[in-house]
Amino acid sequence: MIDVETVMPISRARRDRLYEFLSQRRMMIGFTVLPVVLLFTLILAFPILWAVAASFHDIHAFDPEWHWVGLENYVHYLFDDRVFWHSLWLSASFAAVSVAIHVVVGTAVALLLNHTFPFKKFVSAVLFLPFLIPTAILGFGITYMMNSTFGIVNWTLVDLGIMETTRGWFGNPDTALYVVAAVNSWKFYALVTIMVYARLQSIPSEHYETAKIMGANAWERFRDITLPNLKGVLFLVVLLDTIWMFFKFDIIWILTGEGPSYSTRISVIYAYQVAFQRTALGDAAAISVLLFVIVGAGALTYFYVLEPAEEVRAE
């Protein structure tokens, strides 16, 4: 029998023992799943449960004492606070307009991209770029470019004869929210484009060829091949996008804040103001939980009514 130590250097034998030690099932679980579970508990589950607990208390930022008030916070916002209900309506309008723009523009761009044309790599790099640009930076840039006195957007539109004179885009209470939604779409349409484009590329080209030979025209090919294939991904993207846009905070906060005559005080901005301007943290926690329950219920209904099927499975 050969002595292992003479064949293998000691360090290697030690390394092998380490590998074997790490290969035990318990160790594998320990260094793969455990960190994620711990981290998840610490930074997601715990704060969320903390918020739920806080929502039953009266808490002020500079007072460490929590005063138990039971359901009072919830009752107040559900029944006595018209601002909260109005902010919900504003959030829903913002989400609806945003998602409509994203889906229409995003799908159209994905369909354009699905053709072959020169400089395709460059063009797709440009079209996917907005998604990586920080939303806050977009906000600052837009504040500059849409400025009412020297903004390039205003002057271009005036020079082209589309507008008579420059305007303060974010100053009109009737339109401010929708202008913000449009600006935000400059970035977030790309979410739809990327997801739809990935799906389009996976449709076998034989399907189109066969349909063409069978005599289907372009519209029929689109209706009978492209659309059914996109159904799943569009269901998913509408769900995700609606949730994100319903809770969109940064771009609105940067461009208009609560807006001219509170016209852009959507519910997350209201929650933020309650938390950090009125320093009523318990109330803000109650609003957060309410919002999450409302949106969660909406998402579940969407799931069960439309059954977006296998596209959304977690595995």
Partner: protein, 321 residues
């Protein structure tokens, strides 16, 4: 039926009362067709192709310019002299190029502090979330852990929990344990935003890597750990890169979490810092704002150019910073 109407074949859809039908059907040619042909079909293939192509090109050029021009405008405005930044009729290409805003930005403002904070936080988030997501994704696909499906669904569900609503409880919790205004506090907060999606992405990625590769390595004498380290990890590289870019994009562009959790001006990141320092007091210093934005735009531009396929792979599963 509708499929056949547009074909150029003889006979279909022809006006049955027309005189041409006295011609023997066997000898009918395209010239005898008297039905209505759409104008489009009268054009030669070459012309139809030309029209189709030009519509496509115009559409693509339009969208591309719509995206490209604002970015270019921000970048070029950052190198314009002060007088040109807020002028009514600027030239598209700056007449004079100056770096004075960048000099001010780096030597005469708090921007370097903000940049340092952002870099520390971004590095932390990328390391923490990429490591945890890769290991966790591997463990959840390869090892039979109890309740793993429930766990994965729970993780995905928290992905819907919006940043601002997560920031409020975190503020309450962090201020109780003294983690407000620390890099670690912000790193953990942003990781909470990134982790659910990255874990999901890595989970899906490892599902597509055949386990048989690792099994055959183990047959050949490798330990389970070696099979993970030398087989699974290298194959998962594209997924890991996608997850890392995603984490970078979240952390680099974060505004909401930093706004809530960093209250000391020395702990601000670039996004909140630009707003706090250069927008302050009604007097906006546009030169500095634009220079700061230009710096913040460098990584996205590099990523989209060099790592496009990884990033698109990550985003196509639904990640949104």
């Amino acid at each position: 039926m509708s499929h056949e109407v547009d074909r150029e074949g003889p006979g279909h859809g022809a006006d049955r009362e027309g005189p041409s039908h006295e011609v023997d059907r066997e000898e009918a040619t395209i010239m005898d067709y008297r039905g209505s042909i759409p104008v489009w079909r009268h054009l030669r293939y070459r012309h139809r192709r030309l029209i189709r192509r030009s519509i496509l090109y115009v559409g693509i050029a339009f969208v591309t310019l719509l995206i490209l021009l604002p970015v270019l405008w921000m970048l070029t405005s950052a190198v314009r002299p002060v007088g040109d930044v807020i002028t009514r009729n600027p030239s598209l290409v700056p007449s004079t190029v100056t770096v004075e805003h960048f000099a001010d930005l780096f030597f005469d403002s708090r921007f370097p502090i903000y940049l340092r904070n952002t870099v520390i936080v971004t590095a932390g988030v990328v390391l923490l979330s990429t490591t945890c997501a890769t290991l966790g994704g591997y463990g959840l696909t390869r090892i039979d852990v109890p309740y793993k499906r429930t766990f994965a669904r729970g993780v995905l569900f928290t992905y819907m929990f919006p940043p601002i609503l997560l920031a409020i409880p975190m503020y309450i919790l962090w201020s109780n344990i003294g983690m407000i205004n620390t890099h670690l506090g912000l790193i953990l907060a942003i990781t909470a935003r990134v982790l659910p999606f990255s874990l999901w992405l890595m989970w899906k990625f490892f599902l597509n890597v055949p386990y048989s590769l690792e099994e055959s390595a183990q047959m050949a004498g490798a330990t389970r750990f070696q099979a993970f380290k030398d087989i699974a990890l290298p194959i998962a590289k594209p997924g890991i890169i996608a997850v890392a870019i995603l984490a970078f994009a979240f952390a680099w562009g974060d505004y909401t979490m930093a706004l809530v959790l960093m209250t000391d001006l020395d702990m601000f990141v670039i996004t909140t810092g630009i707003e706090a320092s250069f927008f302050a007091g009604g007097q906006i210093d546009w030169g500095l704002v634009l220079a700061g934005c230009a710096v913040a735009l460098i990584p996205p531009l590099l990523f989209v150019y060099f790592l496009q396929k990884y990033y698109v792979h990550g985003m196509s599963a639904g990640g949104a910073p």
